[in-house]
Point group: C2
Chain length 122, copies 2
């Protein structure tokens, strides 16, 4: 069971998944594109992530370099799994069906998914 990552923490992780290692200041700069957070806020989030061993720290003189310890893919698999389990009884079909019925799927989406499934069957 991978440690829980909160929404705010997730935004920080996205930055680190894109590029790492980074210093706290660098992370804050990049996160600033999305969120209007102070440097301190980002540092707090990094500390919490480090405390949970979701990011690793490496000393670089007076500062730290932060890197993800959890892979984005593994994380996404975990949360998706959890999501589908909790809300759709663990079955992906009802989820897709639901999105379809709610008109959340474009013709484009449908085409892409079909293609993907065709690939999978090989």
């Amino acid at each position: 069971m991978t440690e829980r990552i909160s929404d705010a923490e997730h935004a920080v992780m996205e930055v680190l998944w894109k590029r790492a290692p980074l210093t706290a200041t660098e992370v804050a700069d990049r996160v600033a594109d999305e969120k209007d957070w102070s440097l301190q806020t980002v540092k707090t989030l990094l500390s919490r992530l480090a405390a949970k061993a979701v990011v690793g720290t490496e000393r670089d003189g007076r500062r730290f370099l932060y890197s993800p310890l959890v892979e984005r893919d593994a994380y996404l698999t975990g949360v998706s799994r959890n999501f589908v389990d909790r809300l759709f009884g663990g079955k992906v079909m009802p989820l897709v069906a639901h999105l379809a019925e709610a008109d959340e799927l474009s013709a484009e989406d449908i085409r892409e998914i079909e293609e993907l499934l065709r690939e999978l069957k090989k």
Copy 2:
């Protein structure tokens, strides 16, 4: 924007979506199949849901009857939307692709989804 429903509250909602109206005790009994919560806990959750106007209350003598005010379908659409937006940039394909790659889709799942999509295109 529908009011936020927490995880614990969601378990209570599932019971009410299955059958309503119910008294607090009845809800607690049914929830007990899933969660090991005391009656008081369930009552607290019902109060919070009522305060958020996610369930409605109807007086029945000395007790209340609780019913959902939000439809399950609408709720699922909302959270699914939100989930896909936050984690997969709003595209459903990457989510399905991800679950597929992570071997979370059985051959059976694939067949069902294909069938569903075929239906959709009509």
